[in-house]
Point group: C2
Chain length 332, copies 2
Amino acid sequence: MRRTVRLRDVAAAAGVDASVVSRVLSGDARLSIRPETRERVLAAAARLDYRPNTAARTLKTARTMAIGMIVPDLANVNYATIAQGAEEAATTAGYVLLVAHGSASDRLPDLHGRIDGLLVGMATSETPRHGEFGGGVPALLVNRREPCGIPSVTVDDEAGGTLAVSHLLSLGHRRIAHVAGPQNADTARRRLRGYTAALESAGVRPEPGWIAETTFDEAGGHVAATRLLRLEPRPTALFVGNVRAAIGALAAARRLGLRVPDELSVVGFHDAPFAAYLDPALTTVRMPLEEMGRQAVDSLLALLGGRSVDDTMVATPPELVVRASSAPPPTP
Amino acid sequence: MRRTVRLRDVAAAAGVDASVVSRVLSGDARLSIRPETRERVLAAAARLDYRPNTAARTLKTARTMAIGMIVPDLANVNYATIAQGAEEAATTAGYVLLVAHGSASDRLPDLHGRIDGLLVGMATSETPRHGEFGGGVPALLVNRREPCGIPSVTVDDEAGGTLAVSHLLSLGHRRIAHVAGPQNADTARRRLRGYTAALESAGVRPEPGWIAETTFDEAGGHVAATRLLRLEPRPTALFVGNVRAAIGALAAARRLGLRVPDELSVVGFHDAPFAAYLDPALTTVRMPLEEMGRQAVDSLLALLGGRSVDDTMVATPPELVVRASSAPPPTP
DNA sequence: CTCGGCTAGTCATACGATTGTCTGGGCGCC
DNA sequence: GGCGCCCAGACAATCGTATGACTAGCCGAG
């Protein structure tokens, strides 16, 4: 008994030509075949547990049925969550997901010839040049929208920012500051825009000094929040554009002796399992990251199908998760 | 100008047969060739930017140069970190990494024929049966060691447990309780063993009641810690076998009105970027997870190379990261 | 009776690389 | 000078699938 069952083995077992088996299994409509013969073929394939050889198929059709995903840092829970969603959607469509970490231009050569399309996650620190990505393969930018010649999938960061700030406004806050992410990343810019829009539609004029730009990590949040909390008059609330930075902001408040939420409210961006167990439990905006991963794959597949794809935004709206870190401002 | 450059195109450009190009590029020692001709071949390949067609090569050699990794949950930072290390090692060896999430038996069919070897991460909730994995492909268990017929790569969880508990002992603690993980997972069992060993070698008899088994997440840590902290006499320190559970334990302490570290010391397992920003900053044991991912790939490649591979343990020792959550016990 | 057309398939080739085997020619050796 | 040997490559056969082209046989129509 030979260990790999080929098309011709199935054909022999069913008493037909290999090409018939191929067409039956792929559902070729142009093949005319007696129901009885078709049954024989299907039965033989099932009995022998036939699995098409991916390499041969790829060689012949020039399609790998694999998509690649390059992210700056797989250990970052945001990217990992996106990847998880992407893997799910890829599997559903019969594709596999191939991951790499680093920058797209560095890593693309490693994936050359192994993927039909590419998902690119870009570090917030990167400012892409036009035409930089997708050397040959169709590519899609995930969680960033940049004029680099490839379409993107994003979540509604602006709505998320507005949601967070509206929540604070509705609690009665007026002096709301924003720990913003790197402004070269449009993602961070959109969150800032959501912040500004919410304030303006409430008739609050956002002061430039209320906005502190920083990196999206704990240390960055700590530094920026410290700066904002030394302002006079001190903001009564902080909208932090990232959950890791929010942890840093909470630490900064503690360090300055400010009680949260009594003296200061804090709202983070992106939810994380641990947010509920922080001290105090962190109010956050939950973004549909996994959904974004799925959507990205779907759009990429559309692109592969020859359809043209625009920048899209995941329809699932952000969701406010109210916990203990937000409360009405102190009465003066 | 045709867009895909084949071996025969390079051959034509160099004025030789395609087989010569193949052997030159693959460094076949059995080929004898004039240096001048070799140069012509190399120059032609470089000039035409020749890239071997992976599918054709795979078809011919029956090697995919890809390894698969199936983990229960990619969004879990531990698995993501392991994956990151694995991806790095795979790339170094000229392989690509293909990820999937779910259980190995469910997902293996999706990877069939696309990988040369498989890395399996198992959920702590799973108890594997012998012979369950690796239908056909060489497989390696990551971060678990189970008698299921495939070798494993682990980190030194016992040493990690001992490290944590020794730290607490050296601070003067004697009533040290342990929030343990699911005992069907050997990983959790080894941490428990490290805990027990450290106590015993210090002449402290571990009470069975000091050990609370739970799941490795925030909620589990919260519940288990609450139970332990209601004991009489109350433990003065907690060794929590997981960083997420440690966050839950800190929350439990707060809830019970216990000040950390004044009234209670807490040490977590696995470090995470946010641990330094918790209140109080969490003392943890840092495990070489990324290194484990790298090691796993290296071992898997050895297995593929026909060498036999034993259960191995990453040599890099765990590292104690002392922060604010551990201090000498209160003086009665 | 013959021709056309349809049914139910068969045949053959291509995809691009690897690798075992073979050969023309030059040269050394006796 | 003839023989064999080695050098430097050429030849050819796969690997397993997909797919355009083709055909044997049968039936119905004219």
